[in-house]
């Protein structure tokens, strides 16, 4: 695993720009609601494909995504 992202479910407004931005298709719409009535996206990466490229975080208007990457 080269990287991973964390999504703050309370900040997400389900605009789905990150779903479009992720080249590996690791971010999906979900069905559960947050306290503000939006259905936040979720990140699943079972095969360890995430490279920590930050494209999802760059497009996120609500700064709900934090990205972690291996050093080097």
């Amino acid at each position: 695993m080269k990287g991973y992202v964390t999504i703050d479910k309370e900040l997400c407004k389900e605009c789905h720009l990150c779903v479009e931005a992720c080249k590996k298709g690791l971010i999906h719409p979900s069905r559960e609601y947050n306290t503000r009535g939006y259905r936040p996206v979720c990140f699943t990466d079972e095969a360890g494909e995430c490279t920590g490229c930050t494209l999802c975080a760059i497009t996120c208007p609500d700064i709900a995504i934090e990205v972690f990457r291996e050093k080097g």
């Binding site: 991973y4 720009l17 931005a21 208007p61 700064i63 934090e66 291996e70 050093k71």
Partner: protein, 256 residues
């Protein structure tokens, strides 16, 4: 694992009130990132507009002075003339800059005030409910032009950046957009350059940003990003419109 992307330090932890997919919040983040990168948080003063971004002072962790509707550049002029060592930016929408505040903005640019204006062009009046703006596209349906904007009745969309390039006081004018990761990174570079020009006392700098407004365009965020590419950027071509070389830096700007 190392954290490579998080909330910039020049932003507070307040949750944005903007709609899903709004370009304002992306632009706020870019400005905060530039302030962090240039390490100018202590000397930056922002001037938020009236419009959707009226609450911008809640989000930036820098000094902010709320301006009256459209009077951002006039307020910024006053701040810059009293405190010439500060970095002063005015943040304005198209109702604020292109409609009610065109006189203040135009004359601040003409005087070559050494300030930076971030101009958000989303082709409608966002806060008041999607009325036609001076920058609305021909044929665009809004609440005050239900049949589409007609040039005979409503005039043509104003290309503010092109108009401002004619003024000798302006040093740097670029039009960019925030509809894709690549465009967002380009916009960040443009904002950084505008701030650097201000620190070099080169004159008035303007960054126009084509910004999606999914709610008032009645589209999804992804569709509105596509609409910017397919429709808006045809009338408002992207790119650097004016970049005055260092040697030719204009008069005004720095107050002696």
């Amino acid at each position: 694992m190392k954290k490579v992307f998080c909330r910039p330090k020049s932003m507070t932890d307040t949750v944005f009130h903007y709609c899903a997919g709004c370009g304002h919040s992306i632009t706020h983040r870019l400005i905060a990132e530039v302030i962090d990168e240039m390490d100018i948080r202590g000397i930056t003063i922002g001037v938020p507009p009236a419009g959707c971004a009226v609450l911008a002072y809640k989000y930036f962790n820098v000094d902010m002075i709320e301006a009256q509707h459209g009077r951002g550049p006039a307020t910024a002029t006053g701040i810059k003339r009293m405190l010439p060592d500060r970095v002063v930016f005015s943040y304005q929408g198209d109702g604020d800059l292109a409609a009610i505040g065109i006189a203040e903005s135009f004359h601040a640019a003409n005087r070559g005030e050494n300030i930076t204006v971030v101009f958000i062009n989303n082709a409608v009046y966002g806060m008041t409910g999607g009325q036609m703006a001076p920058t609305s596209m021909l044929g665009q349906k809004t609440t005050t032009s239900p049949a589409g904007r007609a040039s005979l009745l409503d005039g043509h969309p104003i290309q503010i950046s092109e108009v401002f390039t004619l003024l000798p006081g302006t040093a740097y004018i670029e039009r960019c957009t925030v509809n894709s990761p690549a465009a967002i990174l380009k916009t960040k570079k443009a904002i950084r350059k505008a701030f650097e020009y201000q620190l070099d006392c080169r004159g008035f700098s303007l960054v126009e940003i084509l910004s999606p407004c999914p709610t008032n365009w009645k589209m999804t965020p992804i569709e509105s990003n596509r609409w910017i590419d397919e429709v808006m950027s045809k009338k408002f071509p992207l790119g650097v419109l004016k970049d005055l070389p260092a040697g030719e830096a204009k008069k005004g700007g720095k107050t002696p």
